[in-house]
């Protein structure tokens, strides 16, 4: 697995290709890219700036990648999260999951994104014409992450 936090952009197709190169056991690769929108709640934004907690962000992502590996027997995972100033249209986050079959690859990619949004220590601020403002967490994101919680009696998964 590869987890990278970087200021620079990434190439989603190159990352997916790197994960499958020389492999014949992988039957499915899901590539998710999150991009910076140019409007938020109807108002245009000039850019997003992402702050993160060095050390904890990597550790928190690694914990969830390990949970995903245990749950879906992944054959490869790449997570890249950018920080710093990001303009509309630019990439923010990449999750690539590889598995023998598509169900595992799809589910693991969605699981990782839901947890990245609510548990990985990153914070976005939006630049508007009138100044900057911290993005507020969405309850819908919390609900999306909670649906992956293990059923009672299986506390070892997910967390």
């Amino acid at each position: 697995m590869s987890i990278r936090l970087q200021r620079e952009d990434f190439d989603a197709s190159a990352e997916a290709a790197a994960l499958t190169r020389g492999r014949t056991d992988i039957g499915a690769v899901v590539t998710f890219t999150g991009l910076c929108r140019g409007t938020e709640a109807g108002a245009p934004i000039a850019a997003l700036t992402l702050e993160y907690y060095p050390g904890m962000a990597e550790a928190e992502i690694a914990r969830h990648v390990e949970a995903a590996n245990a749950r879906w027997q992944l054959l490869g995972v790449t997570v890249i999260h950018r920080y710093g100033r990001i303009a509309p249209g630019e990439n923010i986050v990449l999750v690539v999951t590889a598995a023998a079959h598509r169900q595992a690859a799809f589910a693991a990619a969605e699981f990782l994104m839901d947890y990245l949004k609510t548990r990985a220590p990153f914070w976005k601020s939006e630049e508007h014409a009138s100044g900057t403002r911290w993005v507020e967490a969405r309850e819908t994101d919390d609900a999306a992450a909670e649906r992956w919680a293990p059923p009672p009696g299986r506390p070892e998964a997910a967390q």
Partner: protein, 83 residues
């Protein structure tokens, strides 16, 4: 112990990190927030609504009831908005 602040908690406190020694009797993350809030106007502003402030001890998420004994690094931050 080292205390770290992120996003608007950092902006309100006015610094990204500091070394502190919590007094005897401050045993949990919640008690630490209450003690910090009493250190001045900027802290009172940052911790005005402690229920929305999240915490991590040694880079792991914790709840406000978590004991702080033995912690090397405690971070305070708003709900996360990555991804």
């Amino acid at each position: 112990m080292k205390i770290l602040y992120f996003a608007w908690v950092r902006e309100r406190v006015g610094k990204p990190e500091e070394e502190i020694e919590a007094p005897v009797g401050v045993a949990t993350v919640g008690e630490l927030m209450a003690w910090l809030a009493g250190r001045g106007e900027e802290y009172a502003h940052a911790f005005a609504n402690p229920r929305v402030v999240r915490a991590a001890i040694d880079r792991t998420h914790v709840k406000s009831e978590a004991p702080i004994a033995g912690a090397r690094e405690i971070a305070f931050f708003p709900p996360m908005t990555g991804g």
